[in-house]
Amino acid sequence: MESLLMIGLLAALGAIAITVAFMSDLLVVAMLSGIFSFTCCALFVLFDAPDVAFTEACVGAGVSTVLTIAAIRLVGRHEKRGGRRASVVGLVVATVCGLALVYGTLELPRFGDPASPASTHVAPHYIEESKGEIGIPNIVTSVLGSYRGYDTMGETVVVFTAALGVLILLGGAQSRPLGRGEAPARRDRDVILRTVATLFIPMTLFLAPYVQFHGAYSPGGGFQAGAILGGALILYGLVFGIDALNKMVPERILRVIAALGVLLYGGTGVVTMLMGHAFLDYYAFGAGPSGQAIGLTAIELGVFMTVTCVMTLLFQRFAIRGVM
């Protein structure tokens, strides 16, 4: 029965991808990408990968669609069609790349093969030992935060770099003067949306710390919690206007906190080194799970700070430029 659902969802993914290729209205493409993300998330759940599904849900449900639409605001809604020649070249390149990728998958081990390198290398160690070594039941959090903490630091830096890139491209330091108050007519028109948002945003604000601190037991962690809180702030900006959002969380504060998050992560690693251990070896803070708990809490907080601020910052930048 599950395989039937999998086939259905995979077919839906294929259909969405093909439709996107034929659409020239970028707003529709943005919406179809949102649907693609929903379908992917359902598939991840079916494949029993709740942590991946959770991340897809946090980023795909709100933030990515909003940022795509904000970008469309800047570049225009309709795709400019190239000549016939350009599309033929594109088709050839896409076909060759696709065939090369399919050829590459022929060498991969079969799905779920117990003898594959992925199942025989370090995975058994994580599954059998992580509970005793790290002290938390969610293996994914143990791997991301502790065993492969260095990689996660790289990912946090990538998120931060994305914010830097947008800030440099879209105007950087000087923002438009605030105080472009909304017309009263608009306020009356959005009464349903405002009422719903007033009820919704506090609930979202509660969900973010739950996801942050429950990440040791269930899917979640700093990245997902950051995306949820960022989503809540973006919703606030969408409903009550970008000026209200700017007043609540000024851009300069977001920039500082985003940088502090990366600093907290990297600083944790430097502190462990100064205490005579390897970079990001949390046993420096205490033997066994107690030291791991201190280290994991610190780095997850760093990720949370960076992701929340970067998500909000990107939206603010796009919205100020595009007048959303």
Partner: protein, 85 residues
């Protein structure tokens, strides 16, 4: 029983997907986006109970809270379009 529910939810998911493809107006597609979001919430919740993985409900919860944002963003865009035109 729960799997029958999952199949039924997938059927409505597919119908909404057809509406998203066919359009014809952008509002049909916004509605389809929202319906598919809701169906995904239900599908994940049902699958969680069918396989006794109650932590799946967290994923459904995140969708329930954040699903609104994409729809609001699309509609905001369209309002802005109308006002500037």
């Amino acid at each position: 029983m729960l799997y029958a529910a999952a199949i039924a939810i997938f059927a409505t998911f597919a119908l909404a997907l057809i509406r998203a493809f066919a359009g014809p107006t952008v509002f049909d597609r916004v509605l389809a986006l929202n319906v598919i979001g809701t169906k995904t919430i239900l599908l994940i919740a049902v699958l969680g109970f069918a396989t006794d993985r109650y932590d799946f409900i967290d994923i459904a919860l995140v969708y329930a809270v954040l699903n609104l944002i994409g729809t609001v963003a699309v509609l905001r865009y369209l309002i802005g379009d109308k006002e500037s035109a």
